[in-house]
Symmetry: C2
Subunit: 326 residues, 2 copies
């Protein structure tokens, strides 16, 4: 498994062989996105959730996405800590993805790794991301169930930063709840949920569809995405992951969300949304790759240099490149 | 001007008429990106910089980008405060962009608004963004000179979040320096700069080129992007914008950076990088729009539904859509 994953991660042409071969075996795992800022205790929480899920005989995959800056080596460190904690259990597979390259590519590679685990029978897959950038948020939001983790003691200013991240949450978690200010954080989150009540959760995939849909802004395909108004209320769960407190309740809530997804047809809607996004992304890449082959480098560079020199406007440049390609 | 901007913002076909008409008149303004989290005092700092630039007879444009969540109405509020402060000065033009739609689209719309101001003779354009998501960071990084604003009192955890944002900085600013902990923040930033010393600033456009270049990952065109090793050392400037302290020094540093850009040829390199990125983005949009026209909606939806149902893998789906389109 580890070797297959490495292949898929590093070699696009290997992915093109491997993914089609296993694709029919995927679609069974419950994908659980877990996002939150560094310091929210996300990794410990994910480990504890994994243990609880193991106790119910689930096979658990953990994919930790940390597009490290040159300043941090977070993913590798986290991996080592984890290995000690969950090692020796064949029912858990852990993989850290620390790409220093393209974030767009990271989303797709993560999707492929998740798919391998899914095909191999891991029926609960926890996808952990640092909620710092759009790409990481998108990765988490592509899951069936998305958890956003907060810790107490982050001021109101920080809450504002996070507003965009809160919008993707199916379940909110205040971890490190033994710290001062936990009640205040819970209240602040509940207040924000109130302010955004009603359409918020229902609109989540629409929001993402708009940004990344196959056909661009405003064409989101069938409008079945999102729960019918009011059918899922985003809960705020309280945990102390280091002591295992609240984990059982949280895992039960994740399970309720899964039941709701299945009962309402939202599961299929989210699968459709993810497929739309992925096909759209692959299409764009394939298009660029074909253009690269059909328009000589010299021509491309000359067109771009003309745009930079204000001799050609960007719209005219695009027309010219299209004309060259066909 | 305000009406032209509104047209370009809201109507893609208007942009296609207006931008080509004015494009040859652009490329003269110094574009200054200013990014930082809410609470860093960014807006006040931008206002003070505008006043200082006005004192040297520059015409100043301010474009404030705030892709508000449903929870905040930040941009409009900030706009009103600004109007009072700088109103009655025809040498300053202020525009807030608060898009609730696509972030990718926001980057391009912002580019077009900046272009209109540039063509109209505003020779210093301050582009202010909240440094919360990748798109906003990209908008700031597309400027000639990028300022990243910090405030004291944000803990080490927060610094970690920001590592990715620091990488795009040409100048770091610790604002609200009269607050406790300012020295510590300055030291922390200097330490981070030390850790990433050398290639960091030089690699900034390479990083972005990889993510968004015309030809995708690994093809960045001419390798002249980024200063030669060591020729620009990222300074850490200290300001108290509410009292006007340190603003003169900061504006002087921005001016030094401009001189360096011009002297080293980096100005042209950054123009080229921006053109590459913009043409690439437009190409992808144009491609999707042509595909939408040439492949019937039913076919597209059927292909995507087959992917979601695991009857077709994503790579095969792309092949089929390409076959349909041609």
């Amino acid at each position: 498994m580890a070797r297959l994953i490495t292949l898929v991660e590093n070699d696009e042409s290997a992915a093109r062989t491997i993914i089609p071969a296993i694709y029919a075996e995927t679609g069974r795992a419950h994908l659980i996105g877990v996002t939150g800022s560094p310091g929210s205790g996300k990794s410990t929480l994910v480990n504890e959730m994994a243990k609880t899920l193991r106790a119910s005989d689930h096979k658990v995959g953990i994919v930790a996405v940390d597009p490290s800056s040159p300043f941090t080596g977070g993913a590798l460190l986290g991996d080592r800590v984890r290995m000690q904690d969950l090692s020796g259990d064949n029912g858990v597979f852990i993989r850290s993805m620390a790409s220093r390259g393209s974030l767009g590519g990271l989303a797709r590679t993560t999707g492929n790794v998740v798919r391998l685990l899914d095909a191999a029978g891991y029926d609960r897959i926890l996808i952990e991301t640092v909620g710092a950038g759009q790409a990481e948020v998108d990765i988490a939001a592509a899951a069936h169930t998305t958890l956003v983790i907060e810790a107490p003691g982050m001021g109101d200013e920080i809450q504002t930063i996070k507003a965009g991240i809160l919008e993707i949450a199916d379940i909110l978690v205040v971890n490190k709840a033994d710290r001062p200010g936990a009640d205040r954080t819970v209240r602040a989150l509940k207040a924000m949920l109130q302010m955004g009540a009603g359409g918020r959760n229902g609109q989540r995939m629409m929001h993402h569809g708009q940004e990344m849909g196959l056909m661009g802004v405003g064409d989101n395909g069938p409008e079945s995405q999102g729960f019918p108004h009011g059918s899922w209320r985003v809960p705020v769960k309280v945990t102390v992951a280091t002591e295992g407190k609240g984990i059982g309740d949280l895992v039960a809530s994740v399970s309720s969300h899964l039941t709701r997804l299945r009962a309402t047809g939202e599961w299929q809607a989210r699968e459709l949304a993810r497929s739309r996004q992925e096909v759209g992304q692959l299409l764009r890449e394939e298009f660029i790759s074909r253009l690269t082959m059909s328009v000589p480098t010299d021509t491309r560079e000359q067109v771009i240099a003309s745009v930079a020199a204000r001799k050609l406007d960007p719209y005219a440049a695009v027309d010219r490149l299209f004309a060259e390609a066909t």
